[in-house]
């Protein structure tokens, strides 16, 4: 044992514990020069996983090249990927384990994300709160966002990116697309370094005002992916959160081939304008419609902001319906209970689907018969109406709404 030097910091902490904490742990690491690894464990699950936690702590420290240390773990039922992340964060805070990673066991990667997949709901998960990760996929959002930006305290950025990296490896998010919101550059580069090797489907870039910001992220993503021989789509999405960003919306939307969607951050945007954010969003109508237009011009998706009042599901439903009417294809959510409401609001109604189906059928018949003009009964259908109907039917098909309608019409038995 080595006596600690009075002036040197000798204890390095990470994570959280306490009566209100669940699925996390606090690690206090004291590196030593001799004596091997000594583990002190306090855990509410000690009778069931005490041996497992001790063994994992040994293993993680060994992987990070720590041979001598005292480590105190106060565990609140954390899962293994969290335990590994918290220990690694403490080791890095001690300035040790440089260039080493203690990666948890991985679940199979989901199939790669398609450029134009459904993105009706994107569920924000604070990057330093592992308890929200575990069952997020069960609530079936189209996308989950592991948020390293606004939801993470500046002093916790380092630990959160390790946790998020581990979550990308070890947590099964079901059919949801896995997105990471990085910090603004240059801090965002450190985020990319940690998370890109774990193949997120999408990187969400905050506070974008210029196309160059997108390009900088794209370049770094490509570089890291090439370095780790990652051959898999990693898409980009930008959030515009200022008047300037909105004015540059078209350039941003078209900045990169990897751009698939664009959204707006209304808190920051209204702050930039110095106006109050209201329930019906009158003050942001220009910004939102401008964004929708730019997104469509660049053939990417427009996605609305979040609706912050979790208790008001009716208000959310109204907001989402009006967002759909403006041309948005989805929006953010901050609680799983918002997901079904949003999916419902962004779904076309059965009446809309049935009308569109009739047009599509008429269009197909006209094509088969080599007719240039599509008509329904005595009415001629204009080509843009046909196009809109085709888009709507395709969207309804992806939402799983089609079979019912087609069967009801006797149109489809497949």
């Amino acid at each position: 044992m080595v006596a600690s030097t009075a002036n040197l910091r000798t204890r390095f902490e990470s994570g959280r514990a306490g009566p209100d904490v669940r699925s996390d742990l606090r690690v206090i690491l004291e590196p030593r020069h001799t004596g091997g690894v000594e583990i002190e464990l306090q855990s509410r699950v000690a009778p069931y996983y005490g041996d497992s936690i001790r063994a994992q702590a040994q293993e993680v420290l060994a992987e990070l090249g720590i041979d001598h240390a005292h480590i105190a773990i106060h565990d609140e039922g954390a899962l293994p990927f969290v335990i590994a992340a918290r220990i690694e964060a403490a080791v890095r805070r001690a300035g040790l384990g440089q260039g080493l990673r203690a990666l948890p066991q991985s679940v199979p990667l989901p199939p790669p994300s398609a450029r134009d997949r459904l993105r009706r709901s994107r569920l924000y998960l604070p990057g330093s709160e592992p308890k929200y990760f575990i069952n997020a996929g069960l609530h079936a959002p189209d996308t989950i966002i592991l948020d390293l930006e606004d939801a993470v305290h500046p002093a916790e950025k380092d630990a959160a990116r390790i946790l998020v990296r581990n979550a990308l490896r070890a947590v099964d998010f079901g059919a949801a697309e896995r997105m990471v919101r990085i910090n603004q550059l240059p801090l965002g580069y450190e985020d990319l370094e940690e998370v890109v090797p774990e193949a997120p489907d999408l990187v969400l870039i905050p506070k974008v005002e210029h196309a160059e910001q997108v390009l900088a992220v794209e370049e770094r993503v490509k570089e890291i992916a090439a370095r780790c021989k990652l051959d898999r789509a990693i898409w980009l999405m930008a959030i515009l959160e200022s008047a300037l960003g909105i004015e540059n919306a078209l350039a941003i939307a078209g900045a990169s081939e990897r751009m698939v969607a664009m959204s707006i951050g209304l808190e920051d945007y209204t702050a930039d304008l110095g106006v109050v954010k209201t329930a019906d969003g009158r003050e942001s109508i220009y910004a939102r419609t401008r964004l929708v237009n730019a997104a469509h011009a660049a053939h990417i998706q427009a996605s609305d902001s979040v609706y912050g009042d979790v208790g008001d599901l009716e208000g959310l439903g109204r907001w989402a319906e009006s967002a759909r009417a403006l041309g948005f294809e989805g929006m953010g959510c901050v609680h799983p209970l918002q997901i079904p409401v949003i999916h419902q609001a962004f779904a076309p109604s059965q009446a809309e689907i049935e009308k569109a189906l009739k047009i599509v059928v008429a269009f197909e018949e006209a094509q088969q018969r080599g007719l240039g003009v599509v008509s329904l009964g005595s009415k001629m259908i204009d080509p843009p109406v046909v196009q809109r109907a085709l888009k709507l039917v395709e969207r309804a098909r992806r939402m799983g709404l089609l079979r019912e309608a087609r069967t009801a019409q006797g149109l489809d038995t497949t």
Partner: protein, 521 residues
């Protein structure tokens, strides 16, 4: 602790004591295999000549009442738990007995609560010998650690009635907290500042105890109606300033959980009941007052409305969610065993379709049938369930006593029993290889619903057939178990348990289903 007990293996393969607190036991022989013999117990005959001619049975205080009841060492004193954690009467009775210098009492509550933790001091002082009744919190820990002199006996609500009725437990003095009573001893829980709704759990005590004392903080002139407790069974009436803390007797409001995972479970259960056709005109159901159960009731209410389906009756513990069903015409009756919130208490007091029941009508197996056999579906909780659908509700996985059986075992006799449980709590899987304490045999448990899917007992091929083609996530219980073990980082270690029994779990017919072993913690 007595560690020289003779142990036998019962039909469920569990090792149980052959004798409990000096009384020979029947080891669980299988469901419906035990044939009770003989006649029911009965209290001594009393005559009106021994009671005040004008029917005024009041005495100045509880000590006087206990003395006149002939309280002495080794007696059994009973209480009910309708006042829940707000109850002051049970402690009042036992502490009065302590002041009178009495020792070695058996305390026989219908359930105990953390408010009664001071009974530990009375056990340490020798006033109380042991407790037969549910124990949790500090009392549970005390028993789990093997510090109680006798064995704890955990019974279901129906099993408690059965034990009293069959003479397994003889109550010397029942002390009944009554939110409203008259001087003759008629009592009701529906009225008064300490109103709690039903007094059903005290009914057997009032009928079978040698002596009965009613303690009230709301004395009304005769008649106190409805007389849930009949004064004809009562020896003495004691008036006190307060029988408990109203804020803890019922909750002002009961709120549905906002946990998305729990809501998911509740929604799955409601959809299961709808899609299997159990939800149909004239059906019946029971769910408790836990977070998942309340949310389930609310989901089912909406589905019943959408489908235009009405229940003939629903079983309480009632809350405002059941009361809404009644008011909206979605149920003809609430048959209520206990009342959890103000809306429930008010409804029972005013609405004749909201009927107070007792463990005799609802739950008692040693009777000519019981109401819960007529319930189509019940939704219950559990701490653990194994891959054979055996379930535990009384202990933590490390053996510590967690809560009582309540009506849980009795409810298993419904047409369909659904356990609605998260697949793991913290890191601890709920689906295990073998339950720590067997509380309900797997052959009685039909469905385990978790946020990761719904498992149907293979014994219920009919239910499996009825969900074919349903979009519900129907999975094998082993598959859910495997997935959860992967998430949690492997199978949990087996917690170390001690060698000494600290309590037994009775089955509904009085036979011994399992043993609770001393916990090491």
């Amino acid at each position: 602790m007595n560690n020289t007990l003779e142990l036998v293996k019962n039909a469920a393969g569990r090792v149980v004591p052959a004798e409990v607190n000096g009384r020979k036991q029947v080891a669980f022989p299988g469901i419906g295999k035990h044939q009770p013999q003989g006649a029911k117990a009965a209290p001594p005959i009393r005559a009106a000549r021994d009671y005040p001619a004008a029917g005024d049975k009041r005495v100045p205080d509880l000590e006087t009442a206990l003395r006149q009841c002939g309280l002495r060492d080794g007696m059994t004193i009973s209480n009910h738990h309708h006042l829940r954690d707000g109850d002051a009467v049970a402690l009042m009775a036992l502490q009065t007995a302590a002041r009178m210098g009495v020792r070695d009492l058996m305390w026989f509550p219908s359930a105990s609560f953390p408010a009664q933790a001071a009974v530990i001091e009375l056990m340490e002082a020798g006033v109380v010998h042991h407790i037969e009744g549910s124990m949790n919190g500090p009392l549970g820990d005390y028993c789990s650690q093997g510090k109680m002199r006798g064995l704890g006996v955990l019974r279901s609500h129906g099993g408690r009635w059965q034990a009293i009725q069959d003479g397994e437990v003889h109550i010397d003095i029942a002390v009944i907290a009554a939110p409203t009573a008259d001087a003759f001893g008629n009592a009701t829980g529906s009225l008064g500042k300490s109103a709690c709704g039903s007094l059903g759990f005290a009914l057997a005590d009032s009928m079978y105890a040698d002596r009965v004392i009613v303690v009230t903080d709301n004395l009304v002139p005769f008649p106190c109606v409805p007389w849930q407790i009949q004064g004809n069974n009562v020896d003495y009436v004691v008036e006190v300033p307060s029988i408990g803390d109203p804020a803890k007797i019922v909750s002002g409001t009961t709120e549905i959980t906002r946990s998305p995972d729990r809501l998911k479970i509740a929604e799955y259960v409601a959809r299961f009941i709808r899609d299997t056709g159990i939800m149909r005109d004239g059906f019946s159901f029971q769910a408790g007052a836990g977070g998942i159960a309340l949310a389930f009731t609310d989901y089912l209410r909406r589905m019943m409305k959408d489908a235009g389906v009405k229940a003939r009756f629903v079983r309480g513990g009632s809350t405002r969610y059941l009361v809404e069903l009644l008011r909206e015409g979605l149920a003809d009756y609430i048959l209520d065993g206990q009342t959890f919130d103000l809306a429930g208490v008010e409804s029972m007091a005013r609405d004749p379709r909201h009927v107070a029941t007792s463990p005799f009508t609802s739950y008692n197996y040693n009777g000519k049938g019981f109401f819960n056999q007529l319930v189509d579906v019940v939704v219950l909780g559990a701490t653990e369930v194994d891959t054979h659908f055996n379930a535990n509700v009384v202990t933590h996985s490390d053996g510590r006593l967690l809560h009582g059986i309540g009506g849980w075992q009795n409810c298993l006799f419904a047409g369909c029993t659904i356990l609605a449980v998260p697949s793991f709590r913290d890191r601890i899987p709920v689906i295990v290889d073998e339950v720590t304490t067997l509380t309900g045999p797997g052959e009685m448990i039909d469905v385990v619903a978790t946020e990761r899917g719904i498992a149907i007992n293979p014994l219920r091929q009919d239910l499996l057939d009825r969900v074919k083609g349903s979009p519900l996530p129907i999975r094998r219980i082993e598959d859910i178990q495997r997935e959860v073990e992967r998430i949690c980082g492997g199978k949990p270690q087996r917690p170390r348990l001690g060698q000494n029994p600290v309590a037994v779990v009775k089955w509904v017919d009085g036979t011994v289903l399992d043993t609770v072993w001393q916990a090491v913690f």
